[in-house]
């Protein structure tokens, strides 16, 4: 029977098909664990006297709480330290592999899985973190779960799940120069809204997607949750196989051949039917920024802050009024005139090596704007090492940026890296919610290229603006 990619992966993991409205029971191939959403799950196991069923399909890292400075010293924040100590103790007690702060494989859980070669096509991947959708870039069915489900997977290596609907998102044609994967996903969310993907697994398709690197594909799948979808997927291809080959946990020898043969079948059949289809023309996708307080409140950088009075839908109008007030913006003002205080480069959305290289291409030989603080936080310790091997750290330091240790950092401000009240950031992260990056902080979501240009000009900008500045200066 014809099937979509998501349905094929689902069916391959059926332990038991549900009957009479009860959910299907699905096997979980890989369970990623971090310190914030796991303590109560391990506590639940302990209280029930249950072991972790498959420690060999489970891996933990420390990321949300970890400081990005002085990582060789005890963590200053006592509650953060307790939470990390709790994870270390739980990992030890239950026999779970852990990569702790200071370890070369520590980092954001969604950066670590792929770089170790644990994330592969055709897997089911879960984690107590909504950005688990990132791993869908490999053609895995990957989604965030709550702490009760974390406990459930630890105890049973399965999850009871109601089937998802499927949505195709076609990005047709070629992306213009200067537009990136981040701009694609921000444009998608602006089009379908923060609830548009609810109940669906999204499959990103089309030429523009096929031409993206694995890093770009991860950026897109990462933010599926911002469109309301628990999971986003991209069918695996040669780009995927080349990324995986030779990674520490990638299959070898006959296993590799068998895996690739299977992975090649993981695509939506030509006659399969999606429950919904959305089309976007890649040529229309410009550098995109958010102006409001949810990721759907975004516009091309060339646009203006919306005028609420012009918004017909009452809920949207009220939301826009509230967002514009919180963000301290003027309706109708050009987005390019918005001055920022901080530029944050990092997160599971844009904290991989390719993202850092893209920033360096823009800033090399330049200095940051005097009024802007620039924070560069690699997604993992390995990304930091790779960047240092390529000399990228020197470029960041010469530019005037801070070069930090790995972690989630200012994406959600659980560690000391936070915005102050009223402070405004251009951030390569994934959420612009009120107070997300620090109480009273204001967030504009941007691509690494826009972040880099903004750090130079001090106002929301793209590399094209830098080129215009240079042309004017030379005229």
């Amino acid at each position: 029977m014809a099937g979509t990619l998501a349905e094929k992966v689902w069916d391959a993991h059926l332990v038991r098909r549900g009957t009479d409205g009860s959910p299907d029971l699905l096997y979980i191939d890989l369970h990623l664990v971090h310190e914030v959403t796991s303590p109560q799950a391990f506590e639940g196991l302990r209280l029930a006297g249950r072991p972790v069923r498959r420690p060999d399909l489970t891996i933990a890292t420390e990321d949300h709480n970890t400081p990005t400075l002085n990582i060789d010293r005890p963590i200053a924040d006592l509650t953060s330290r307790t939470q990390i100590d709790t994870l270390r103790n739980n990992a030890k007690e239950f026999g779970v592999r852990i990569h702790s702060l200071g370890d070369a494989d520590q980092g954001i859980v969604h950066v670590v899985g792929p770089q170790l070669g644990l994330t592969m096509p055709g897997l089911t991947v879960v984690c107590g973190d909504s950005h688990t959708s990132t791993h869908g870039a490999f053609g895995a069915l990957a989604f965030g779960i709550g702490t009760s489900e974390v406990e459930h997977v630890l105890a049973t290596q399965t999850l009871p799940l109601q089937p998802f609907k499927t949505m195709a998102i076609n990005i047709n044609g070629d992306l213009p120069q200067g537009s990136t994967a981040k701009d694609i996903i921000l444009a998608i969310i602006a089009k379908i809204g923060t609830g548009g993907g609810q109940g669906y697994v999204l499959e990103y398709r089309g030429e523009a997607i096929r031409k993206l690197s694995m890093e770009g594909r991860m950026t897109i799948c990462n933010m599926s949750i911002e469109a309301g979808a628990r999971a986003g997927m991209i069918a695996p291809d040669e780009t995927t196989f080349n990324y995986l080959k030779g990674r520490p946990h990638a299959p070898e020898g006959a296993d590799w051949d068998a895996a690739v043969e299977y992975w090649k079948t993981l695509k939506t059949d030509d006659d399969a039917v999606f429950d919904a289809v959305v089309d976007l023309e890649a040529k229309d996708i410009e550098p995109f920024v958010t102006w409001g307080t949810n990721p759907g409140q975004g516009l091309p950088l060339s646009g203006n802050v919306p005028v609420p009075a012009e918004i017909a839908d009452e809920n949207d109008r009220i939301a826009a009024e509230r967002a514009i007030e919180y963000m301290g913006l003027t309706p109708g003002a050009p987005l390019r005139d918005i001055k920022v205080d901080t530029v944050f480069i990092g997160s599971c959305t844009n904290g991989r090596i390719e993202d850092l290289r893209a920033v360096v291409d823009v800033i090399k030989g330049k200095k940051k704007h005097d009024d802007v603080r620039v924070l560069v936080v690699p997604g993992s310790a390995r990304v930091r090492l790779q960047a240092e091997a390529e000399g990228l750290d020197k470029v960041f330091l010469d530019f005037g940026a801070e070069w930090r240790n790995a972690g989630c950092s200012m994406c959600l401000g659980m560690n000391p890296d936070q915005l102050k009240p009223g402070e405004r950031a251009a951030s390569t992260s994934n959420r612009n919610f009120e107070g997300r990056q620090g109480k009273g902080g204001r967030t504009h979501l941007v691509s690494p290229l826009v972040a880099a240009a903004t750090a130079i000009r001090g106002t929301l900008s793209s590399p094209a603006d830098l080129a215009n500045d240079e042309a004017l200066a030379n005229a």
Binding site: R16, T68, L69, L118, S130, G146, W256, R382, R384
Partner: protein
């Protein structure tokens, strides 16, 4: 888990859409390692505003939250459900919930009922006109009743059954132990295992220091 059949309590009108989980409970409260004691964290940023609905005497003891569309978007944190429950909420009604939040609710005995947008509006009017009005939520008939308004809500059959029976998911799943073992016996050898651990050579990671030369 405690059984849920019917509940009557003060209704709280929350006239906001896109109430994300960062608003329900900011990340700073997620550092705790316990499962209870999150009542102070609920809507913490808004609780400073005297005008906020939960700061008004009539609504303070609320246990049925009636919210705008797209409630519970964003992060997967189950702490959002714990905070609502710890405060005293037993039910949230909205015209649309984020998937993960809805799933988390069902596992913790919080009823997340989907109500048509026009019915949410009717409930809001009742609760705003007569602050302190009680709402009766009947899971059996899937109805919510306040003043002279009765509305239907949707909740999937399986979640409803589990809530009404007060059943624990893990116990239910472990009844399928033989099916799980059978599946595991046929798992392809290329599928990854985290143990024994494989990785690139371990190397020392330099600690970054503050740029201003300070020691903290």
């Amino acid at each position: 888990m405690e059984k849920f059949i019917k509940h009557t309590g003060v209704g709280v009108p929350l006239r906001r859409s896109n109430v994300d989980t960062d608003q329900i409970i900011p990340a700073v409260y997620l550092k705790r390692v316990t499962r209870t004691g999150f009542e102070d964290a609920l809507f913490s940023a808004w609780r400073n505003d005297p005008e906020f609905v939960l700061n008004q005497d009539a609504y303070k003891t609320g246990s049925v939250l009636v919210a705008g569309p797209d409630f519970g978007t964003g992060s997967s944190r189950e702490h959002a459900v714990w905070a609502l429950k710890d405060y005293g909420f037993r039910v949230v009604l909205s015209s649309r919930f984020a998937d993960i939040f809805r799933g988390n609710s069902g596992k913790q005995g919080l009823v997340a009922g989907v109500v048509a947008p026009e019915d949410i509006e009717l409930l809001w009017k009742v609760l705003e006109t007569n602050p302190g009005t009680e709402v009766t939520v009947d899971l059996e008939s899937r109805t919510a009743h306040a003043g002279d308004v009765t509305v239907q809500f949707q909740i999937d059959d399986y979640t409803r059954w589990r809530l009404m029976e007060g059943l624990d998911d893990i116990g239910l799943t472990l009844q399928n132990e033989s099916d799980i073992a059978e599946y595991e016996a046929h798992r392809a050898s290329w599928r990854p295992k985290t143990l024994p651990a494989k990785h690139e050579p371990s190397v020392h990671i330099e600690a970054a220091r503050p740029v201003d030369g300070s020691d903290d």
